[in-house]
Subunit: 510 residues, 2 copies
């Protein structure tokens, strides 16, 4: 029996990624020193990550990094980093994430920019500032990785119609991992870093202007680090509810940016704003946000979408400003898959929650760090449906599907169909799995809660409803369910098919 995958080459590259990534841990070390907390968790992790990285790098033979090895590289990278990234939680030993399964969950949730948490208590009493910043940083690093994956690697591997994902940025040959891929990565990272800095400036600026009393520099950095990657982690237990309406509107703005194709933002920065406004996905993205926000505003303003049992939180019915803000914030947080909360939407009525739940399947734009299915896929599906109706009447007609004017290949379209169906099938089965496992351990989970946990993790969104609502956490689940959701976050982040390919027996044979 012979393995036909040059796995040593893939492992070697994983090593290189680990080696460079370990440098990022200098930031939490600095934060720890600044706040006079122990830097040990991060120093140890740096040692492990760099050491393992260098060791793996040595493994690398002369094998080429081909098509197959690309999949392995992607899958392993997103597995190795979250595992090593769990070390700080384990070593720090603070609260619930001192448990290995919880530490892995939190780390995977971070690097996949999911934002689902198993922190029992989010506070500086329970956790050190450096650990809570590390948690934020994992999402920022994860977002950075996802941008390269989405724009440069997956299209090259032709996964699930990823070719269209960034038709704005042409593909590259993975083997020659130089000029163009580096240029693109640099362009995207420039946008990413630029907007992160801008978010810090705006958040902290509002604080300095007296419009956000509790948005200190720590909080400004912490939230900027999880806005741009559509991550959603917050060192505040009440998420963005903890801040003023001015901050909430600023976060809405940056979330919309974060859910936009970064290649398009680069074109805007380089003087071609037309490419953004003419882009089909960007238009549909804004339209989707608009439609959901208006629907939700109506539900909140009329009170129809609120629970029959009144709660003591913000009364919204009849207050247009409040309704618009809460509805817009929650819509944008969900559609961009960021997952922040401006209030506990768990207290809303089931109708509002169902609208949010359905919006979870949209996803932001391709070429961003957003999760879930992404607007472009739904757009292509809708166009393919219209074409099918047309060609059924006119069987002789040949009509390519177009995206921003360019024809889409049929193979790409087929990949999109299969990805959407696979995603939906895994979502449905996972809902039942989580539901039945909860039943097994006696956790009182409702069907809608199970469904929301399934899409919140597979879609890298973060919060669901009920027990996994925005102000709650994923702690009550069994270890088996938590590990299953770790798998779902990994699967969802890598666009499902890349993982399934590596897990398929055919992958390892000739």
């Amino acid at each position: 029996y012979r393995v036909y995958v040059e796995y040593r080459t893939a492992l070697g590259l994983v090593g290189t990624v680990l080696k460079y990534l370990s440098l990022a841990l200098v930031l939490p070390v600095a934060v720890a020193l600044y706040y006079r907390e122990s830097p040990v968790p991060f120093v140890v992790t740096i040692a492990v990550m760099a050491g393992l990285g260098i060791a793996l790098e040595r493994l690398r033979g002369d094998g080429e990094l081909g098509h197959r090895e690309g999949f392995l590289l992607v899958a392993l990278t997103w597995l190795a980093i979250p595992i090593i990234g769990a070390l700080p939680y384990l070593i720090a030993g603070e609260g619930t994430v001192a448990h290995p399964v919880n530490a892995l969950f939190e780390s995977m949730s971070g690097f996949t920019t999911t934002g689902a948490t198993v922190l029992g208590e989010i506070s500086f009493d329970r956790h050190s500032r450096s650990i809570l910043l590390w948690r934020q940083l994992t999402q920022w690093l994860g977002g950075m990785g996802i941008l390269v994956l989405m724009v440069a690697i997956l299209p090259e591997l032709s996964v699930g119609g990823a070719q269209v994902i960034n038709e704005e940025a042409p593909g590259f040959a993975l083997e020659k991992l130089t000029p163009r891929i580096r240029d693109t990565a640099r362009a995207l990272w420039t946008v990413y870093v630029g907007f992160t800095v801008a978010a810090v400036a705006v958040y902290y600026g509002l604080h300095l202007a007296g419009m956000a009393p509790n948005m200190d520099l720590y909080n400004a950095v912490a939230h900027a680090l999880t806005t741009l990657p559509t991550g959603g982690f917050s060192p505040e237990a009440r998420s963005v509810e903890a801040f003023s309406p001015a901050i909430q509107w600023a976060v809405v703005l940056f979330m919309i940016v974060a859910g936009t194709n970064f290649a398009l933002l680069w074109y805007v920065a380089t003087g071609e704003p037309r490419r953004l406004v003419r882009n089909d996905e960007f238009r549909s993205y804004l339209l989707a946000i608009g439609v959901v926000a208006v629907l939700l505003t109506t539900l909140l303003f009329t009170g129809l979408g609120l629970s029959a049992v009144p709660t003591n939180v913000d009364p919204i019915p009849g207050d247009l400003g409040n309704s618009v803000r809460q509805a817009t914030f929650q819509t944008v947080a969900i559609v961009t898959t960021t997952g922040y909360a401006s209030m506990d939407f768990n207290t809303w009525g089931e109708s509002s929650k169902v609208v949010l739940l359905l919006a979870m399947f949209l996803g932001g734009s391709a070429g961003s760090a957003a999760g879930s299915l992404k607007i472009v896929r739904w757009l292509l599906v809708r166009r393919a449906m219209a074409r099918e109706l047309y060609t059924t009447i006119h069987p002789e007609a040949v009509r390519p599907i177009r995206f921003t004017g360019k024809p889409i290949e049929e193979d790409t379209l087929r990949g999109v169909f299969i990805l959407v169906l696979s995603f939906l099938a895994i979502f449905a089965v996972s809902s039942v799995v989580l539901f039945l496992d909860a039943l097994r351990v006696g956790l009182d989970l409702s069907a809608i809660e199970a469904v929301s946990a399934s899409i919140a993790t597979l879609g890298n969104i973060g919060p669901g409803v009920g027990v996994v609502g925005p102000m709650n956490n994923f702690l009550p689940f069994s270890n088996a369910s938590k590990l299953y959701m770790v798998f779902l976050m990994w699967l969802g982040r890598l666009e499902v098919l890349s993982v399934l390919i590596v897990l398929s027996p055919a992958y390892w044979k000739q």
Copy 2:
């Protein structure tokens, strides 16, 4: 402005169908006379149906019945018949179906073999025997129509990958509506009538053998009429719970037959049983039933799948025979989309209901009167997924998808993808529509109830959970929601795309 559809030709053929269909109403007339009830509702309906039929037939010009007109014929037939079929309910004026919207709902539910009811009280006190038999008969007639549609017409129109639907029975040219289409229709109807007669014989035979005290001849005929078309209507308020376990097992058997491709059953009858056992869809169909039944049996037997609040109905936990029977019955009733109930599964726990809800998407076999998506489509989707993984690793490989050994064309496969995605999208949107409309009128509907009402009608299944549970009815919905569900039943029955095509503007233009 010129209409390019030869609608007169289509209308003319609808007229022919109406003319012949009116003959079927002789049965309820006879039943009315036998039970000394008024035959007026049926006599008037015969007059209207035959009269309109003859009038429409005269409309028919020399236009050819082409591809386009085929869609119109199908859509109009399934609209005209339910509308006229509502007349007996209106004229008889018994109970809730005396209301026009309810009468239309009940009639559409009948002819589409859905089985969702708006009868407030199902009893011989409230309703005449002839009206309740007419209700059963609408399903039997609807099933007969669907067999021809599925096997002979849709494949010809190439709708949603319907070409594979019956790869066992080759397609025909619709224009030459003679020898082969007639032969096939005759073969299918022979199977259909034969098994209906067999069901009457078995049901009534068990009664004569003393194993089914209340299964008199009326009931035997009434239930046989709704078993074979996977209809699910019953003149008993408690559905099949009203009968003995022996009857329940007999019904399970006939439901399994009803959910099988009738072309395969014809081959069995003509000495080629191998074609049945070798058929990929038939195997998957049995496998699906087996998996769901085992899962449900486990849930019932262990009590995990029962509600935390015990009810005074049949206690099942620990009783293997009872668990197996209830689980198998309910599984088969849902997978075949028949919708009968052997007990009120509404009293079960949410987990069991979620399993049933998910099973609602399977559907029986193509080439039967079953609704929903059908096993063959899921089978093709699964195979396409496996192939996608394979071809992503081996981009140079060309691998057709096979079904029972025969390669499937890519166009057909694309049609299947689009149908599945359209069905799921309409289901999701309809769930929200029904939910919000309930909210509008102050009907206390939960999300899972809205979801179940959506799939129960779109999938032509019948009962859902909660307010639309098997022992309840669709009466509480607003008229708007009821008319919307009438639309969903029509849409679902005609495989979604045929209706959407006729409703698309492009259909009416050159």
